[in-house]
Symmetry: C2
Subunit: 357 residues, 2 copies
C-alpha cells in the first residue's frame, strides 16, 4: 500500500489534459447533425467535453452513476452558526442508508446509486454496502479557535477520497457525482471559497440551511477571522486543514481520483464548489473533468463557479446539498451525450443544410 | 361529432382552476420532509402545482409522456426570412418518423414517445402511428401580404389540437409536451408575441435558426408591419389567423385540451410560448396547467414567459424547437413529483428539525 502522500502525489501526476483530437472530432460531428449549428447550446459544449474526457468520438454513453456523499462534522457548530444540532449529521446518514433523503429520491430518478462515506462524522456510524467507513477523526476542531485539522489529517482525508474514487471505478461506475452532509459545512465552505478566490467573507457567506440575520452576521465574522489567519501563499492542503472540513478534503480527493482515471465528475453545490477549488490548487487540469450540476442560492457557490470557470446546468434556487443538484442534473448530461451519439446527420437523413455559418 | 367551434367552446368552458386544497396539503407535506424548509427551491413549487393540477396530495407520478410536434409551413418564407428551404419541414417530419432528430433522442432519454401532427405542412406527408394527419391547409399564406389563414381555418386548427390532446389522454398519456416544426415559424412567433404582449417587433424578433444581420432586419420589419395591421381589441383567434401559424393554433388547442382534462403540459421554447399566449387569451386558467421546460435564446421567448408568468426549468442557450427543451426538462418535472411522493418525513426518520421558520 502506498502512503497517503504517495497516493496523492501519484494521482495528481497522472492527470492528463482532455483529448484535443476527440474534441475536434466531436465539434465536427455536432456540425453535421440534423439541426442548425449551435442550436443545442450548452448541450453541444458538454458533449465535446465528454469526448475530450474519454478521448473518443463518439464517446461512451454514461452507464453507471454513483452519487458519493461525504459526511463529516464541524467543531465550529459550537459557535452557533446553524440552528441544527450536530446529531443531525448522524441521523441524516441513517436517512441516506434507509433511502429516505432527497439525494436518494433524486439519484433513483437519475438511475444511479448513492454511496455514503463517513469521512469524519462525530457519532458512531455502522459500515455496510451503502455507508463506507473512512473516518479520519470525529469531526473537525472549531475553526474559529484554530486549525480545523492537522495537515496529516487533511492528506489522509484527501487520499481517502482518491481511493474511494478508484474503488468505485473499479466496481464499474463510469461517472461520479459529489454529495455531502455535515451540519455547519456551509461555514467551512465559505472559508475555503474566500481563501481560494480572494473574495471577502461578506461576499461568500450565506444563509446555508436558513439562518437568521444575526446568525449570518456571526457566521460572516467567523469566516473573516479564520481566513485572516492564512498566509497568502498557503497551499491547498494547508488551507483545507486550517479552515475546511473533512468532507471537503474527501471530495477534493474524489475529483482528483476520478480525473486520474478519465472519469467525469458532476459537482453539486457550494460544498462541492469549495472542494473543487481545493482540487484545482492541487491539479488545475482536474477541473476539466468536472461538470457543474447546478448553481446553489449560496453566494459562495457563484464565486466558486466563476473561479472554476464552470457553467451550471441547473439554476433552480436549490440550497440543500447532499448531492441533490448533481443528481437532478445528471439526465441533462446523459442527454447531451446521447445527442452526439444518436442523432442523424444531414447526410444520413438526406436533408439540405441551410446553415449560413 | 361537435363542430370545431363547439368543441373549442366546450373545452374552454370546463377548464377549472388548480385545486387549492391539494396545493395546501402539498405545501404542508413539503414542510415535513427531511430537508430545511424551501431547500429544494423551484422543485417544491413545481410539486405543489402538480398536486393542484391533479387535485390530489400526494399527486400521481407521471408515467406516460408524449412530446407532440405540430408541423406546418409558412408562406412568409417567400420573403427570405430564413436560409432554410421550405422542403426542410417535410424532410424533418420524415426525420422525426425515422427517429433521427434531436427531439427523438431527447424524448427517448426522457422515457417518452414522440407524436408528430401534420397540421399544415406544404408537402405530402404519409400518415402512420407516429405521424398523424390533421392538415388544415398546405402552409399559411404569406403573413407579410395579408392574413395567414382564415378565422375558420384557425378555429379548425385549434380544435384539431384540442382533439389530439383528448385522443392522446384517452390512449393513456398523462403528461404532454409541446413540440413544433415549421421553416419560418420564428417569424410568425415573433408576430404573435408582439401582438399578445404589446412589445415592439424589435424587442421580440430574433435570429431563429441563425439568420444574419440583414435578414434579422428584414424579419423585424415584416413583424412590425404585420402586427401593425391588427386592431388593439383583436381576439386570440383573430390574432393567430392574421399573423400566426397553423402549428401555433394546434399547440394552443393542445394546451386547452390538456387543461380541460387536468393533464399538465410541458412547454418547449419560443413557438410554444407564442402558442401559450394564444391559449391564455382563450382561457387564462389553462396556463396554470403549463410548465415552462426551458428558456430559449430567442428574445421573444423571454417576453412570452414573462407575460405567461412562468419560470423556465432549464436555460442552456437552446434555440432548436421541435420540443427539445421540453423533453430535456421532463426528468426535472418527474424528480420534483418524486420528491414530494417518496421522501421521508422528519417524523418517520426520527430527526429533529432545526428550522427557524
Amino acid at each position: 500500500m502506498p502512503t497517503p502522500e504517495d497516493l496523492l502525489d501519484q494521482t495528481v501526476s497522472v492527470i492528463e489534459p482532455l483529448d484535443a483530437e476527440a474534441m475536434r472530432a466531436a465539434r465536427e460531428r455536432q456540425a453535421g447533425l440534423t439541426k442548425p449549428a449551435g442550436a443545442l447550446g450548452v448541450l453541444e459544449d458538454l458533449s465535446v467535453q465528454w469526448a475530450g474526457i474519454h478521448a473518443a468520438c463518439p464517446p461512451p454513453y454514461p452507464e453507471e452513476l454513483a452519487v458519493v456523499v461525504f459526511a463529516g462534522d464541524h467543531g465550529v457548530v459550537a459557535q452557533g452558526v446553524t440552528p441544527w444540532p450536530q446529531e443531525v449529521t448522524t441521523a441524516m446518514v441513517e436517512n441516506f442508508r434507509a433511502g429516505g433523503a432527497a439525494v436518494n429520491v433524486l439519484t433513483a430518478e437519475a438511475g444511479g446509486d448513492v454511496v455514503v462515506v463517513d469521512i469524519g462524522v462525530a457519532g458512531d456510524i455502522k459500515e455496510d454496502e451503502v455507508v463506507w467507513s473512512r473516518k479520519v477523526r470525529r469531526g473537525t476542531a472549531d475553526l474559529s479557535l484554530g486549525a480545523a485539522m492537522t495537515r496529516d489529517e487533511a492528506v489522509l482525508a484527501i487520499s481517502a477520497g482518491v481511493q474511494v474514487a478508484l474503488d468505485l471505478i473499479d466496481q464499474g461506475y463510469d461517472v461520479l457525482a459529489t454529495g455531502d452532509m455535515g451540519i455547519g459545512n456551509t461555514t467551512a465552505s465559505a472559508c475555503l471559497v474566500a481563501a481560494l478566490t480572494g473574495r471577502s467573507a461578506a461576499e461568500v457567506t450565506g444563509r446555508g440551511t436558513g439562518v437568521d440575520d444575526a446568525t449570518l452576521e456571526l457566521k460572516t465574522r467567523i469566516v473573516e477571522a479564520a481566513v485572516g489567519r492564512l498566509a497568502s501563499d498557503t497551499d491547498g492542503i494547508a488551507v483545507v486543514a486550517e479552515v475546511g472540513g473533512l468532507e471537503h478534503a474527501g471530495l477534493a480527493g474524489l475529483i482528483l481520483g476520478a480525473a486520474s482515471r478519465r472519469v467525469p465528475v458532476v459537482l453539486d453545490g457550494l460544498i462541492a464548489g469549495a472542494a473543487a477549488l481545493v482540487a484545482q490548487r492541487l491539479s488545475a487540469t482536474s477541473i476539466d473533468y468536472c461538470i457543474a450540476g447546478h448553481r446553489s442560492v449560496e453566494p459562495g457557490h457563484r464565486a466558486a463557479l466563476e473561479a472554476l470557470g464552470l457553467r451550471p446546468l441547473i439554476d433552480l434556487d436549490l440550497r440543500l446539498g447532499e448531492g441533490s443538484g448533481a443528481a437532478l442534473a445528471f439526465p441533462i448530461v446523459r442527454s447531451a451525450v446521447a445527442v452526439l451519439r444518436d442523432m442523424a446527420t444531414f447526410e444520413s437523413a438526406q436533408i439540405e443544410s441551410g446553415d449560413q455559418s
